[in-house]
Symmetry: C2
Subunit: 281 residues, 2 copies
């Protein structure tokens, strides 16, 4: 059986009810919208993180999609599944995490719904006002230099530790995450100078495969990346492309924003087929 | 323990991250947004409806919130939980239902997320463009006449039948529902002439209790309503208020739109405390 999401999208495409689906978010009438679910047993397991950290991360994964398009999030709606056995203390902790995240990203919560369920789940819809430049996945030119922000790979190693029973509270990856450095927050600052921008949710290699397909291009690597760097998901770092003449300017802006930005590949004619699991199949 | 949603909202209120929460939907920069979840075991049980009818109803409950504010829905995002055991045929049926509903209401699906789960669940976020008149729950004046659209009560009796093991496919309530007569669709047509408008999601009596609290008024009944009419939820009929001088005009517009509209109470000084279960506690 073909992947469920692909199957659903295929059927929906045939019925002509889809519109603009494809980027991290979607731009409609000067607004940008994004929705990503964050569910127990799918994206995390009970006990991996404190409730308030889970709420923070649930919002962050959506925030990253908005920044990836060069915009700044303003409002959120939240559908929240709360396990039946949650105490008032648990709910307070959740509320503190949601509020903490909203206040950190300067987002107002404008609506939502809560339901009782067996599993904890967050479904945030984010609303942003579009900046002058809309950053998209399509737009790569032959010769463009691809760069990623920050470091890649630690999310994968933390995930492996979690899956083998080590609690990640003290793991470096989550220290980094909760130091609140979402690399894609750099994109609005450089949107004028880049030809493509997105965040790395599902691993660099998977994202490159998608980019190759959308833009009908291949990639020549300028440096060797480890398998871990290529397949690590949930990084929320920026993946951008820039014309060689603008590379210096973009690296300078990144530096001013205290973000590392690493050139690692060049756009060439051809096709790229990467490694790593396609999560949204 | 206080209700979960109330508790969550209380904590969130204290942290200053909420904005404009209170109506069926929320108006931001000329757009209106609404999010209602529709979950297996909370809002329906497995087997009560065909998958395509469930998808249709999941969108309808959200559509009703948008119409309740006098607006017309344009776009939707969908977070969809799909049970692990769903076959390709099941997914096709779901897609057909989603597409059918989107096309019926002239809504484009612009994004979303799918996750595997043990239960089927729909979390639609709807986006509408605001009309000149924004219809809200606040605005009742002493002397205003309250009216509801259509008929009330059949949803309650169908629910009772479902809970006692009768499949509702042939029940009148769902015939009515799937005849696609959401009474709140009348509201945009009369928005210029009314002082308050909303849809009846949780039962007339519960909605009146909320209205009394928000507007600091009471109600004098002009006709006797049955307990069933008062407590039946998921009716998606309109509940509106109109100044006596505009009543005739509004009834005429309803008639032209082939909608019954029943005056049943008048706004007075005082307080109303109704019967029926507060679902969102």
């Amino acid at each position: 059986m073909k992947g469920r999401e692909a199957l659903l999208l295929q059927y929906l495409h045939e019925t002509n009810c889809l519109y603009k689906v494809g980027d991290d978010g979607v731009a409609i009438n000067k607004n940008i919208y994004a929705l990503d679910s964050f569910m127990e047993n799918t994206h995390f397991k009970h006990g991996w993180l404190k409730l308030k950290d889970l709420a923070f991360k649930a919002l962050s994964v959506n925030v990253s999609d908005i920044y990836a398009m060069g915009a700044t999030p303003k409002y959120a709606l939240l559908a929240l599944s709360i396990p039946q056995n949650f105490s008032a203390k648990n709910i307070k902790e959740l509320a503190i995490g949601i509020a903490d995240a909203c206040n950190f990203y300067k987002i107002k919560l404008i609506g939502g719904d809560t339901i009782s369920s067996s599993l904890l789940g967050f479904h945030f819809t984010l609303i942003a006002e579009q900046n002058n430049i809309l950053v998209q996945r399509k737009g790569l030119n032959i010769g463009d230099i691809l760069c990623f922000s920050g470091t890649l790979g630690s999310s994968y190693s933390t995930l492996q530790q979690c899956l083998h029973g080590f609690m990640p509270t003290y793991c470096k990856r989550h220290e980094v995450f909760f130091a609140r450095r979402i690399g894609s927050m750099l994109i609005p600052h450089i949107s004028k100078h880049i030809t493509m921008g997105m965040d790395i949710s599902d691993g660099l290699s998977v994202e490159l495969t998608r980019l190759s397909k959308i833009n009908h291009v291949g990639f020549k690597f300028l440096r060797k990346l480890s398998k871990q760097e290529l397949i690590s998901g949930e990084e929320y770092q920026a993946l951008i492309a820039v014309a060689p003449k603008n590379l210096k300017k973009v690296l300078l802006i990144a530096q001013k924003n205290r973000q590392q930005l690493h050139p690692f590949a060049q756009v060439i004619h051809g096709r790229y087929k990467g490694i790593g699991k396609e999560w949204h199949k």
